[in-house]
Amino acid sequence: MAIEFLLVDDDADDSDLIFEALSEIDPNVKYTYAMEGPEAFSMLENGYAPSVIFLDINMPGMNGWNCLTKLKAEEQFKKIPVVMYSTSSYPHEIEKAFKLGALAFFTKPNHYTLLKKNIKIILDALHGGDIQSLDKTVLESITPSEKKH
């Protein structure tokens, strides 16, 4: 079964980067992009069932927190693994994400290679049918050289 990957993010550049990374890792992955929450929900309500959702936090209108809450509140969506994908790297936001039911937390990286690496981790888990092994994982988003600062 082909993996359905949904990104909810108002940033088109990030969408391009993720699409590029997905194509390079596994061209069979079906990629869908929603620019805002309501758009994603309308797709979901129309029967679209993604294998994983990458959800940005900082979006105009319905933000990522609202989306996550709503996803986890509804029976038909709550099982979809959600990876929060945000600029933020604050521990309290990470904590909040897990509290609201997100599977993993991934701070948008500054390196394309890191982006690719983490997407691969997720795709591998999906392929292996063991996405729950990533429960409450904070995916690495900075390189060792950046850590110094």
Binding site: T87, N110, L115
Partner: protein, 694 residues
Amino acid sequence: MVSCSKYNLSFMTFISESSEPNSNVLNFLSGGGEMGERIRAFNWNTTSLGCINTWPQSLLTTVSIVLNSKFPMFIWWGDELIQFYNDAYRPSLGNEGKHPVALGQKGVDCWQEIWPVIKPLIDRVLQGESTWSEDQLIPIYRNGQMQDVYWTFGYSPVYIEGGIIGGVLVVCTETTNMVQNLKKIEESENKLRFAIDAAELGTWDYDPVKNTFDGNERLKDWFGLLPVSEIDLSLALAVISEEERPDVIKAITRALDYSSGGVYNVTYTIINPVSKEERIVNAKGRAWFNDQKEAYRFNGTLQDVTTEVIARELNEEIQDQIRFAGDRLQLALDAGEIGYYELLIESDEMDCNNQYKKIFGFSEEHQPTYKEFTSKIVAKDIAVRNKAIKKAMEGGGIYNAEYRVEHSNGEIRWVKSFGKAMFDDAHKPFKLIGMILDITEHKQFAEELSKQVRQRTTELKQTNADLLQFAHVASHDLKEPVRKVKIFTNRIKEEFKPLIPEKGHLYLDKILHSTDRMISMIEGVLTYSTLSDLSQAMGKIDLNEIIINIKKDLEILIDEKEATITTDKLPVIQGVPVLIYQLFYNLINNALKFSKTDEASQIAITYARENVSGIEYEKLTITDNGIGFSEEDVEKMFDAFIRLNSKDKYEGTGLGLALCKKIVDRHNGIIFANGVKDIGAVFTILLPLNTIKS
């Protein structure tokens, strides 16, 4: 008449056959009062002198001189020092004493008690030497007891026929009375001096003829005069204060005038010329006049009355003040529109001024009762007021209440009432005295003010929140494009590596470096704005764990700086975990960052309890051996966007310490830094044990 013995002294010149004293002898020994008779009647045969008729001429002559003298005289004659004395001498022997036994007695038998004293004297006289003793104490037995007797006496040798010494003539006078009088005088002088001393009196003595002045030690000390006697009066006068000097001179002149009776009593101030000490003294004395009505002596005492005068002046001043205090108080009360009252607690008897009545809405003419007054208090406020009264009666006696009164015309006024309860010996309150103020306007003003403050505070809070929100959003949004710059620069560098010349890579590195800085600055602003978000919950934080995590996160930097971090066992504290993490992260990160290039970084984290002005703190210090900072940098280093070091050498946002300060502030703590340039820095954090503040 007694007979003469057959045995006569060897030095007798002739022997009379008759035992009766012959006429020649009696001529010599005639008169002489009682002692004359006793000598004539004495049986001299019982002595070594033998019958009077046989006595040598020299003895007769000597005895004759003695008997006829009104001066006390005494003779010791012959080897046995047989004694004679005259009527004048006789009282010296007292009653019930040596008289009349002493006559014809041997010296040694008569003066047993003083023989050791006088025998040597007698021996010296018998060698031919006269003696003279003045006021010598020779206690003798008389009047039935031993008595201290003083004598002034001379012992002279009496030469007899052949140039030898036949006896000793004692011419003496008893000076016991004189000596004792002198002693008494000396004693009373001592007593007087003691009294003068005890009374701390100065004494003075002026000789108007010589114009010299003298005084006791104390007086000279007061006047700052040298302890020499006899100084010129003008020197003493110079010490008297200038204003009073003419009056003193006038008083002296008057006392020295016979018609004044010589009385002198004047008070003046002296200023010690050396110490400049001022002393108010009372001089009392009198002048003594001779027959020509001229003063020959003027003396008296000086008493230091400084304390008395000052006390008197002070007392007068206090009396004055008390006298006027009432008036002034009334004036002040009127001017301040203050109501005054006194309430007798047992009887509810009330006394008050007109202002008091006015505040309660009564006219001046009416004298309301206590009940009438209290009936004006607004029903809602009665409980508050009664509680305050009760507290004053039971507790410290201070009464203080604010309540409303309603005037007859329905007008409501706010009043503030103060009072003090007075207690009797049984600690029972008997009186309440106090004042009352109409504070309606003040109250209205305060209410208006607090309303405005509330409003402004809300506005300010809103503005602040808006600003923070703006900072938060702005920094969040700013991060996005910077991240894009970075991610695509990275991609250019990595994916087109071979196509880009070396210089191109250098430029791309510069872009990346700048974006890194920009990101961290934006992060800083973001954190800073997030800090004010009070929703972040307090919790228990194990600082040991925090430090372990920080070490993990800073692993690369720690390795690079070859740093060792030593840590005390740290406490579990109350705080916002994220913030406390950030606090220690920043400080440790700083310590690593500002380490010296040529020395391994050493960081020590210590912990202690500390009490500062009564508050218990957890004290944590972070000490490093880095580049330190200078004293003048300390003040500004906690301000936002202040960098102490050039950014080329040391990376930083200029927000790190500002964040630390803000975090510590949020925990009601204290943070401060000490540093020495090129030696190192110590950051101290004090977190109160009870962090949570309302």
